[in-house]
Amino acid sequence: MARDAKKMSAPAKAAKSAGKAPFKALVTHSEELALDKALLLSMHDTMVKARCLEERLIAMYKTGHGYFWIGGPGEEAFNVPLGLLIKKGQGPAFDYLHFHYRQSATLLAMGEEGVGAIRQMKNTAGDPYSGGRNFAGHFSKKDWNLVPVSSPIEVQYAMAPGTALVQKRHGGDGITIVTGGDAGTAEGDFASCLVWASRPGQELPVLIIVTNNRWGISTPYEQTQGVEKISDRGLAFGMKTKTIDGNDPVSSYLELKEAMEYVRAERKPYLVEARVSRLYGHSSASGANFATAEADCISQFEARLEKAGLLTKAEAKAVRERYSEQFADIARAVKEEPFPDGSSIWDHVFHGEPGRDPLA
């Protein structure tokens, strides 16, 4: 499935300001439900759970319980398999995770509870990721090697070689996983990651992921980037690369598994581009309304599961209702929780030192 040597295709012809070019032909895609039933159903369950969580966060924004929403509805089919395949734990024996702001589904697949995301949305003192300091979707969890999600786009690609280098030296099969969007690949840091991951004899065990939703806020990919397949950016570096259908959880699972096994065993980089949807626009700044023109990975997957006799419409509906209620309840409770105190701004400026105003 990997293609580390191929002919380049010509760049996309002209900028189309709306819609997406069909990319089926460019991606590796599975027609079969080639996974066992339990896994399929558990993936479906977590995808729906993640969608319900994000929809709750959006509802909180719309009812004034949070200042800003950004998140991952539309990327569940990719993010859930990714989460399931991660080697979870702390330290270089486990995977280091340099994520972007659309990966709630990955966290849920890893076993995280949704309440943390809800607390962060409401910026309460109990927000486990930033103590009410950072925006929604900006996770951080040291226990799981999840480094703080950064608002500045693409800097995670500059840091990822560092964790991977420690892992290369450490041995074992822990790898570094870094994720970002398509528009962000225009930043030099994406190229830096390719350079640093492929030093001869020092190749790094890093899974370099780009989730390509063909948008950067309001700007269509075709308008600003002449690269037809982002995964091709890795070829000059002698790197294994592929472009996959991130709207299909089955092919995402299989393709990620293959790529991760390569990185874990060979201790070398792999660049994966996943074509995904952006289902509620960029963020609350653009309204956070459902984008009907985009493929919805959950309804697509449900249709396939139904056709294969693995899940009925009623069952699917039940899953959704269960999570919707669950998160509504949690949100109701979180609304009563306290905000951080103003004086807490001094906490954690320096590690190992009590917080204080240095000029007071």
């Binding site: 300091r133 608002s151 600003t224 905000f339 701004i345 400026v349 000029l359």
Partner: protein
């Protein structure tokens, strides 16, 4: 009356038509969005750049070198910090080439707190910008000033950084921009892009006039005799309100809007401080190695023996970011109550 986003847009329209501006570009600057704050809707030379701040600044430099006149936007000043080397290079180009090359370019970017922007949409960049030689640095606090200063920025033959306080972006002015319609919603009907499909929409520009305001001139927004307050941007109106508030107690505060940070209007500050003997500088950038500290230094350098009280700086706390939760933001950057308190304390000092 126009708000600041509309004022910026009108200035850019005037500059496209009359001042030779060739390229207004940056992330999401072109249609359909016309900028995350709508500052660039409906303009004829806008385009959407790749998501690459270094490319944006570098390309602006190149356009300026080749005889174009770019206005480049960095979407939030929080994202300008990977380009400081390029900004330094732009500021040094005329000097390094011993006067051969000059770069007529404007970089505009929204700055500051006040919209619950959390850690990465609340930065101030005035300390960093004023430390870079070769740039002119502008920050308006009213729509009319934004209009007039941006026209001057577009006429400049040197690099200009135009900092837009995002907390003031949607606040309407109290003065008409020359040419703007007087009826309340008329301007919006003419130049604000509609919701929904915008492919067929075109702005209808009022006939605007050149109301440029020279760079380097401060504005005294309130006269007073007991204390000089010098500020700019988001904190400027807070200072004016605070001055009104303490006036109730008989305190008489002069408020100066610096408007241009470099070169700044030292004569205006000096004249005021010579009159009042007391000065408070207010801005919201973090307070260590802060531009207000430069102004304090200049003050003690030149006016030490005329001071009745130590010159003071009220600025942002020295923390790594501005937290999202209300109490965090309030504790991090000056609020009106902090300014009132500082005013009272300074006037109370007896030499």
């Amino acid at each position: 009356m126009a708000n600041m986003a509309q004022a910026v847009r009108m200035a850019l329209h005037f500059a496209e038509e009359n001042l030779g501006v060739t390229d207004i570009f940056g992330e999401d600057v072109g249609m359909p969005l016309g900028g995350v704050f709508t500052c660039t809707q409906g303009l004829k030379t806008t385009w959407n750049s790749p998501l690459d701040e270094r490319g944006i600044i570098g390309t602006a430099m190149g356009i300026a070198m080749a005889g174009g006149k770019p206005v480049a936007e960095i979407q939030f000043c929080d994202y300008i910090y990977n380009t400081i080397d390029l900004l330094k290079l732009a500021g040094a180009t005329h000097w390094s080439s011993n006067g051969q090359w000059n770069l007529p370019m404007v970089v505009m970017t929204p700055v500051g707190s006040g919209i619950r922007g959390s850690i990465y949409h609340s930065h101030s960049v005035d300390a960093t910008a004023t430390h870079i030689a070769g740039w002119k640095i502008v920050m308006p606090s009213t729509p009319l000033d934004a209009y007039g200063l941006l026209l001057s920025a577009c006429k400049e033959t040197n690099p200009v950084m135009f900092l837009i306080p995002k907390a003031l972006m949607r606040i309407r002015g109290t003065e008409l921009i020359p040419g703007e319609p007087t009826e309340d919603k008329a301007l919006s009907r003419l130049i604000d892009a509609p919701l929904g499909d915008r492919t067929k929409w075109a702005a209808q520009w009022p006939t605007l006039e050149d109301a440029s305001i020279p760079l380097g001139k401060a504005k005294t927004v309130r006269a007073g005799s007991q204390l000089t307050v010098v500020s700019y941007g988001r904190t400027l109106p807070l200072c004016a309100h605070a001055a009104d508030a303490v006036a109730a107690d008989g305190l008489d505060v002069e408020v100066i809007d610096l408007r241009t940070l470099w070169p700044y209007d030292w004569e205006a500050i000096k004249a005021s401080v010579e009159k009042t003997g007391r000065v408070l500088f207010v801005n919201e950038d973090t307070e260590v190695t802060n531009f207000g500290e430069h102004l304090v230094r200049r003050t003690v350098d030149e006016l030490f023996f005329k001071l009745l009280a130590p010159p003071k700086l009220l600025a942002g706390k020295f923390v790594p970011g501005i937290g999202l939760a209300d109490p965090l933001e309030a504790a991090s950057v000056p609020q009106q109550s902090d300014i009132e308190q500082a005013m009272r304390a300074l006037i109370a000092v007896q030499p």
